[in-house]
């Protein structure tokens, strides 16, 4: 039985190797003492030490973290609302357009989204004088729009699995809808909200294309800073920055994973495999009898 899927298992390992080997090489070479990127000159951390003194880079890091923080909070609020509307309110005018607007940012090429948002901001500045200058604020709006879609997908997956009878019971007992939502629904979907928050945070931290379009002079983010350095070629300093970013994201991802896993364990007390098997058996039996 186990042998049956040998080909796919081999492919899984080949795929994972393909995904991870470049990143491992990158991290190893960030500790290279040699100035030449391809020649190994022994272990050293001096590329990392230099990063802290680079004020331009550190400012970009601060700005990126600030934007990511604001983005994650706004995207969670908007995305959770959107997910709630998608899964709980089946009929309202413009529902098709709404669900289209929620999923479209996931697939829309970033250059189109970036260009269109910039042109919007320019047109708005002409018409109503706001935003007067592009920077943290406009990047935040762009990132929030983009991350809302991700949060909505993550949260709506969880909302769809929830047992709605608990919400209905709360309302039957007289809780107003907003109270039911805050006291019953939100705690039950809390892990996916947290996962959505972390996802938005890392996506915002990572974005280059949108930020390049909608930022103004003097508001460079970390990816923009890295990109302009990378364009000039491979350098040990960039290896060091890249490794730090990889490490930070890996930590965030592990955290998000633990959140999802603990929620998964709680919600699936009866193992789903057995569950499915029983229903399948029941279906076969009922057909036999009829």
């Amino acid at each position: 039985m186990k042998n049956r899927f040998a080909f796919s298992t081999i492919m899984l390992w080949v795929g994972l190797a393909f995904i991870y080997i470049p990143m491992v090489i990158l991290v190893i070479y960030s500790f290279n003492a040699s100035r030449l990127v391809t020649v190994w000159g022994g272990w050293s951390v001096h590329w990392y030490v230099g990063l802290l003194d680079n004020t331009q880079l550190m400012n970009a890091v601060k700005r990126s973290l600030q934007i990511a923080l604001y983005t994650a909070c706004a995207a969670v609020a908007l995305g959770t609302l959107a997910a709630f509307v998608m899964t709980r309110i089946k009929r309202f005018r413009g529902r098709t357009l709404f669900s289209g607007l929620v999923t479209a940012p996931l697939v829309m090429p970033e250059v189109i989204t970036g260009l269109s948002l910039l042109l919007l901001f320019v047109a708005m500045a002409q018409l109503i004088g706001w935003p007067a200058e592009r920077g943290v604020m406009t990047i935040w709006i762009a990132h929030t729009t983009f991350c809302t879609a991700y949060v909505a997908i993550v949260v709506s997956g969880r909302l769809g699995e929830l047992d709605q009878s608990i919400e209905e019971a709360a309302m039957d007992l007289g809780a107003p809808p907003w109270k039911t939502f805050l006291l019953i629904t939100v705690p039950m979907i809390a892990p996916s909200i947290a996962a959505g928050w972390l996802l938005s945070f890392t996506l915002s931290l990572d974005d280059l294309v949108l930020a390049s379009f909608v930022s103004g002079p003097g508001a460079t983010t970390l990816p923009m800073e890295v990109f302009s350095a990378v364009r000039l070629g491979v350098k040990p300093e960039i290896n060091a920055i890249a490794s730090v970013i990889l490490l930070a994201v890996a930590l965030f991802t592990l955290l998000a994973w633990f959140l999802v896993r603990s929620a998964d364990k709680r919600s699936r007390m009866p193992p789903p495999e057995d569950d499915k098997h029983i229903t399948w058996q029941a279906a076969i039996n009922s057909r036999k009898h009829s």
């Binding site: 049956r4 899927f5 080909f7 796919s8 492919m11 899984l12 080949v14 795929g15 994972l16 393909f18 995904i19 991870y20 470049p22 990143m23 090489i25 990158l26 391809t38 609302l81 959107a82 709980r88 309110i89 309202f92 709404f98 669900s99 607007l101 999923t103 479209a104 940012p105 697939v107 829309m108 090429p109 970033e110 250059v111 189109i112 989204t113 260009l115 042109l119 919007l120 047109a123 729009t145 709506s156 209905e168 309302m171 107003p176 809808p177 996802l199 280059l208 990816p223 890295v226 990109f227 990378v230 364009r231 491979v234 290896n239 890249a242 970013i245 592990l254 994973w257 789903p272 098997h277």
Partner: protein, 301 residues
């Protein structure tokens, strides 16, 4: 369910819907209308660098619809080549991702439940990491004095360095590398729901492993295949970072051209026209993806 809806006060319900709706309308849909508008205006040396579409002079409204930008796109073969180049890269990469990702997703879906989560995390983690950095990692590997060439030369496969970086091959490697997880995840989500007893039944009835796979697993995973393929195909058409860093002079992709037109030439109307045409090309796959998604969601509900 109905109770929940009826209990929500009209005003509360209105706000719950309208806040995300308004945000997405204002910052996602409206901007496309503006791009469309600017694609019809004439470039000018001004801030912003285009002429207004509407002109109100002496009680007469003049609407100047300039088709010049679109005509310009057809006259220079560069743009057509870039569109075709993008479609070709996206199509080939999608097929490679499917061929590589399908068995991966199958292996994860058939693994024990505890391991599934670990594998999923391993596949998912890179999508949360800067695409820029992962593409950068390949620059060091593929360059002519890079690790791959050094490795191949030291084991004697080649005698002189191969030119891989700054060619289309590097772009394919980068695109497949960056977008593979987007193929694996929807396929996994679909495959994990399959009932294995169907396969057992097929085998009991005498089907070979391969024909059971073709006749049961593949048709059942259709929505996953569509979702995964669209998640790879659509963004790759507009990809900018990968062709910019890994591609060379022969690499013509529309995302890169749009970027250059906008930032280097500062021709906003032509950049807008490029975006509109790109959007028109992608409209069918985007609608297909959306239709597929909402059908899958309805099935779950």
């Amino acid at each position: 369910m109905n109770k929940l809806i009826s209990r929500i006060l009209p005003s509360g319900r209105f706000w719950v819907i309208s806040v995300p709706y308004l945000w997405l309308f204002l910052f996602f849909l409206l901007p496309f209308a503006i791009v469309l508008k600017i694609s019809f205006s004439e470039a000018a040396i001004a801030i912003p660098p285009y002429k207004p579409l509407f002109d109100y002079v002496e009680q007469s409204l003049n609407v100047v619809v300039n088709l010049g930008n679109y005509i310009f796109l057809t006259q220079d073969s560069l743009y057509l080549a870039a569109y075709l180049g993008s479609l070709k890269v996206a199509l080939i990469s999608t097929v490679i991702c499917l061929l590589l990702g399908y068995p991966m997703a199958l292996a994860i879906a058939r693994a024990p439940r505890e391991k599934q989560l670990v594998y999923l995390l391993l596949v998912m983690m890179p999508t949360w990491t800067a695409i820029l950095i992962r593409v950068y990692a390949w620059m060091g590997i593929l360059s002519s004095n890079g690790l791959l060439n050094n490795l191949l030369m030291s084991i004697g496969v080649i005698s002189s360095p191969l030119q891989i970086l700054n060619t289309n091959i590097a772009v394919y490697i980068g695109v497949v590398y960056a977008y593979l997880p987007f193929m694996v995840l929807p396929l996994y989500a679909n495959l994990v729901k399959h009932d294995e007893t169907l396969l057992e039944a097929a085998m009991d009835l005498g089907a070979s492993k391969l024909s059971a796979f073709w006749k049961i697993t593949v048709p059942l995973s259709k929505t996953g295949i569509i979702a995964g393929s669209m998640l790879v195909f659509i963004p790759v058409v507009g990809e900018f970072v990968i062709p910019e860093l890994l591609g060379g002079p022969e690499t013509l992709m529309i995302g890169k051209i749009l970027w250059q037109e906008f930032f280097n030439n500062r021709d906003w109307p032509v950049a807008s026209a490029l975006a509109i045409v790109m959007l028109a090309i992608l409209l069918i796959p985007i609608i297909l993806f959306h239709y597929n998604q909402s059908r899958a969601m309805e099935k779950n509900a």
